[in-house]
């Protein structure tokens, strides 16, 4: 049996060690590189997130500063289920002005707005009374605290045609309402 030269054995062993260390060195280097790249990407994300947070802080501050205005906008929209309150307001306004009012129809119209949160309440009413009272009522309807749109307003004289006589009116008003 051939006996191995101890020197050759050492050379083989050393060569294997050198090759193995080359691999270890390579993997260490790649690992460090990957970790640095990863850390750098995370840093970039962090900086972007910090900028986003700063922006959000300023937006939040702006929203807080505009809270009163936002509340005014929200308050000007009829709440869900507040239909009766609006009808009461309309009737009381008319009666306060000395008019007789009757609500002819109420309708929730989802087709007018293409919105997930908002809809409209359509109110048709008939009013009877004097010219000046009608005029005051019309002014008040157009100044209601709710966002509304007068779709139709018609006045027909039920007397001899003079301004002092009795007038009959039809009112079609559309009010913005939360769904």
């Amino acid at each position: 049996m051939k006996k191995f030269n101890p020197l050759k054995q050492i050379i083989v062993l050393l060569s294997l060690l050198v090759v193995a260390l080359c691999f270890v060195y390579y993997f260490c280097f790649v690992d460090i590189q990957n970790k640095n790249i990863n850390a750098s990407e995370l840093q970039n994300k962090m900086e972007a997130a910090a900028k986003r947070d700063d922006y959000l802080m300023s937006v939040r501050q702006a929203v807080q500063n505009s809270n009163n205005d936002i509340e005014k906008v929200n308050d000007s929209i009829l709440g869900k289920g507040d239909d009766a309150d609006f009808i009461d307001l309309l009737e009381n306004t008319a009666r306060f002005d000395g008019l007789e009012i009757s609500i002819d129809s109420l309708n929730i119209d989802d087709t007018f707005l293409n919105s997930a949160d908002l809809t409209t309440l359509d109110v048709d009413a008939t009013v009877d009374g004097g010219w000046s009272d009608m005029y005051v009522f019309l002014n008040q309807v157009e100044s209601l605290p709710f966002v509304s749109r007068v779709e139709k307003f018609g006045l027909i004289s039920s007397s001899d045609g003079t301004s002092a006589g009795k007038w009959s009116g039809i009112l079609e008003v559309r009010v913005l309402e939360y769904k």
Partner: protein
Amino acid sequence: MFNVLPDNLKEKIKKQYRLRRLVVVLIFVLFVQISFLIFLFPSWIMSEYKERDSLDQINFQNSSVISQNTDAVLQTINDTNTAIDVINTAFKYPKVVPLFDAVISAKSKSISLRQLTYSAEGTSTASLSLEGIAATRQDLVSFVENLQKSGSFANVVSPVSNLEKDRDIDFSVSLDSN
């Protein structure tokens, strides 16, 4: 001394030297590699901690109150913008009172209105129709001219049939707002 050795022995000794030289070179290379690894280790540790630190900071940032409240803030802004947009577009219409005021201002005492009808037709236009009695033909013509001059109406239509009679004229006028 070496020269006196037989050739085969000389060759054997030379081979042994070459092998030993190779061993020395390999040991040197091994030493260099191990030195490199030792010097590389602090870099590896630094990279490891840098990565962990960045991850911790990202996690902390993601769990911050500001980041968590983002949706609520954005929702408020979106809702408000939607509402303002609807108010400024769909609910914009020509107000009735100024148009009625313009009609009444154009009317003289000899014009008697018995019907006024306002219809909103869009965000910026509305139509009005008036019916009434004019004392004379000239009063009606003046009334229509006044309506045209008022600046509130883009179009004032008074049918010719309104002028058939010269006194107590039943008239109808159609108007389109500006």
